[in-house]
């Protein structure tokens, strides 16, 4: 055997892969459906600022990858953030970050597109830019560097990362990208500034370098030479008319959600007042049961996956959910596949649906009552009553589940001691109902600190301080103290940083860069997170993080995201805030009258997104 035949001996990353944890996340051995050869001169790399297993579970990249490659004929690739052990080895060996599929340096692409799914991934953006050989600050990039763009929910609160991103893309990628790609193809070879000027005129594009912020007594004021503000989010009006991949990238190594994701609708009108997703993805747009089941069948054939997940913000709310389940039965049987619903409402309808699904019957079943008393659930507009919780629990345990998970929040606006006690009371009640059916009942209770988010009715509210979160968490633990109930509460230090970044302004950028230079990485991961690093970065920048997280804002204050129109109107948010204060509920407009959230005109056109 000729030794020199072994090309493996010359793979530069082999040594690294032999010496890091979970090396399979870097191999790029996914199954990639071959598309038609691209006619475009544009190269775009989709970048996910977290590890591969998380990024590969994200349906958005499946949609965008397919859309760019098949619909817009662009050369597209993907990149993920290396874990800290790999980053260290790469720096030791002076190796840069490459895309996964074609192993190209990130700096060699025309466009690097990040998704901003969660605030605590933001420092990973800096890691990826730096390892990719791209200056981390927009102002330091030259004509040869890629354009760094960012979309996703975080793009609607862009200022905390505005110094690092050239163009924010607001809204649905399928609505934004066609004009964006056309513009860049036309501008190929032009100077960076010319490109940015041209792109700023595209609907849904926000180019932060064209504006500068001023920090006044009244709040943040932006001014500059760009198009008039605010910039509005762009949306697709019909999901049935919007391409969804019928072939997907299939991982060959373990990922978090290892199944076919079929998006069944976008948006949610339940109106939970704490929920950013429920505000910023309006209006509701449903995919018809026919389209959903057709996609399901094609994807089962084309991917080889044996499980389908119906993805949305609240899948049981699809008007045709029963129809979808009925229609998919034969398809699933033919392919020996299972179906799962990732988000269940607390009512017997949802439990009945889950009972029909084999895949849901293993393990535990999860619900989110969110708050411990009716009064507080009314404040947050979570339309769940005590009876709903009890009958759901009864139905769950009667149908054979032994394990149930409940999610709650602490620190919600208007919370009193009674609400904290209520979490313990409900948990014990649910356990008692379970034990009525089976002695094996196990309950898991998760409590997270509430993080007020921009573009929600609670965007003006203060977040609880760290010490308060700790006291409340401990109190819930000691109140529950039962061997059949396990209580977890989310690290309040992470919730605090999330709270700071979620309503930050552009001054956060320098803090973030400093924290990153001091070693902040993977802030969303408990094993790597360090609040101390961030605190020292804030101190050096002379900023108080509590000013962002723990301060009550007045309605007159100019907020750092006021120049972004996410679709819900300011008047609606204020009205909802008023109603929260008076504990009154707002009905879901899908089944009741219009609540005038700011989407009335669009809703008229798309008939409230409801499947006919």
């Amino acid at each position: 055997m000729n030794y020199y035949e072994f090309e493996e001996l010359n793979i530069p990353e082999w040594d690294l892969l032999s010496s890091v944890k979970k090396s399979s996340r870097y191999t790029g051995t996914d199954w990639i459906p071959t598309g038609k050869p691209s006619g475009s001169k544009l190269d775009i790399c989709l970048a996910f600022p977290d590890v591969y297993e998380i990024g590969m579970s994200y349906v958005g990249f499946q949609i965008l990858y397919y859309f760019l490659k098949e619909i817009l004929s662009v050369n597209v690739d993907r990149a993920y953030c290396p874990w800290i052990d790999m980053e260290q080895k790469m720096r030791e060996k002076c190796l840069g970050l490459n895309s996964l599929e074609f192993k190209r340096s990130l700096a060699s692409f025309d466009v690097l597109g990040f998704t901003l799914q969660h605030e605590l991934t933001y420092t990973n953006i800096l890691t990826m830019l730096d390892l990719g050989g791209i200056p981390i600050r927009s102002s330091e990039r030259s004509d040869d560097d890629p354009l760094v763009i960012a979309g996703g929910p975080g793009a609607l609160v862009p200022e905390p990362v505005a110094d690092f991103i050239d163009v924010f893309c607001l809204g649905d990628g399928e609505a934004f990208l066609p004009d964006f790609v056309k513009c860049l193809e036309k501008m190929k070879g032009a100077e960076r500034n010319e490109k940015l000027q041209a792109l700023s005129n595209i609907k849904g594009a926000y180019v932060p370098s064209l504006y500068s912020p001023e920090y006044t007594e009244q709040g943040v004021v932006l001014s500059g030479g760009g198009p008039a503000l605010p910039v509005s989010r762009v949306i697709v009006e019909s999901l049935d008319d919007t391409p969804f991949p019928d072939r997907m990238i299939v991982p060959n190594v373990p990922v978090i959600h290892d199944r076919i994701p079929v998006e069944i609708f976008r948006g949610c009108t339940r109106g939970c007042r704490f929920c950013q997703a429920g505000m910023i993805y309006r209006p509701v747009r449903e995919r018809s049961p026919e389209t959903v089941t057709n996609l399901m069948e094609k994807l089962l054939e084309n991917t080889g996956w044996d499980e389908v997940s119906l993805v949305s913000l609240a899948s049981c709310d699809h008007r045709g959910i029963t129809d979808i389940l009925d229609k998919s039965e034969n398809i699933l049987k033919k392919h020996r596949a299972k179906l799962s619903l990732p988000s269940l409402r607390m009512d017997s309808f949802s439990v009945d649906l889950a009972t029909r699904l084999e895949s849901m019957k293993r393990g535990s079943i999860t619900f989110a009552p969110e708050a411990g008393t009716q009064r507080l659930r009314n404040i947050i507009n979570k339309g769940v009553s005590e009876e709903d919780i009890e009958s759901t629990a009864d139905s769950v345990f009667r149908n054979g589940w032994h394990k149930m998970k409940l999610y709650f929040m602490m620190g919600l606006p208007g919370e009193t001691d009674e609400d904290i006690e209520g979490i313990a009371r409900i948990s014990k009640k649910v356990l008692a109902i379970g034990r009525h059916h089976t002695g094996k009942t196990q309950l898991s209770v998760s409590v997270a600190g509430f993080v007020p988010k921009a573009h929600t009715p609670f965007q003006w509210e203060p977040q609880d301080k760290l010490q308060v979160f700790r006291e409340k968490g401990n109190r819930i633990k000691s109140l529950i103290n039962h061997r059949r109930i396990s209580v977890h509460y989310h690290d309040p230090e992470q919730s605090f940083l999330e709270g700071v970044l979620a309503r930050g302004d552009r001054r956060i950028c320098s803090v973030m860069e400093k924290a990153w230079r001091k070693g902040a990485r993977f802030d969303g991961w408990a094993e790597t997170f360090s609040l101390a690093i961030w605190e020292s970065a804030f101190e050096e920048e002379g900023l108080d993080p509590g000013m962002y997280a723990n301060r009550s804002r007045s309605l007159d204050e100019k907020l750092p995201w006021d120049h972004i129109d996410a679709g819900v109107s300011r008047a609606f948010l204020e009205r909802e805030r008023e109603k929260a204060l008076s504990t009154s509920l707002t009905q879901d407009c899908r089944w009741n009258s219009c609540q005038m959230c700011g989407q009335e005109e669009v809703c008229k056109i798309i008939d409230r997104g409801v499947t006919k």
Binding site: N2, S19, V253, P254
Partner: protein, 199 residues
Amino acid sequence: MTRMRFAFSKRKLCCFIPHVVLPQVFARAGIRAGIDFEYSEGFSPRPRISIGPALPVGVIGLGELFDAEIRNWESSMLDKWNYFLPDGISLVDCREADGPSLGKACTAASYLLCVLKQISLQEIMDSLNEQLPAGSIIAIGPDPGGPLIMIDLENPQQNSPGLFVKALVNSDIIGSWSEVRIIRTRLGFLEGSTVRTLM
């Protein structure tokens, strides 16, 4: 239903795909290729695919084996299946399986070992002879094809090539996996003093 036996190679970056997920890799690629597998019974039915002795991540395999129960097998399917596998894993041969399961049938394996530093092959062989379990080495010697050592080992189910690395680390010849390259050239059984393939 036919029980088929396949020989495959695991090369390039696919060497870093963990052994435990290989049944899934073959199953998903097979389904994309239109293969109708026989499924296991029980709560989570899976295609009946059983892979031979485990190959640690980072080891190159040239003649790895697995058995699969297939309802619609035709010889033309081999190419199609290959098309849907990741670049680095290829099916190189197949035949109808007979006799005992792979776990029982694989009793010997051949390896090539390359240590990526200036050191005499004799020193490496001494270390292995000294430290590998008694009787596990069938044959050991320099390979004519390059600065490599050829080793035939008994009982691949139990004797993983990880033993080479452990021995060399113990002897202070290397510090870690990244300083060696290991190739499993053949899986099979012992006939006289030669390792024969099961294909």
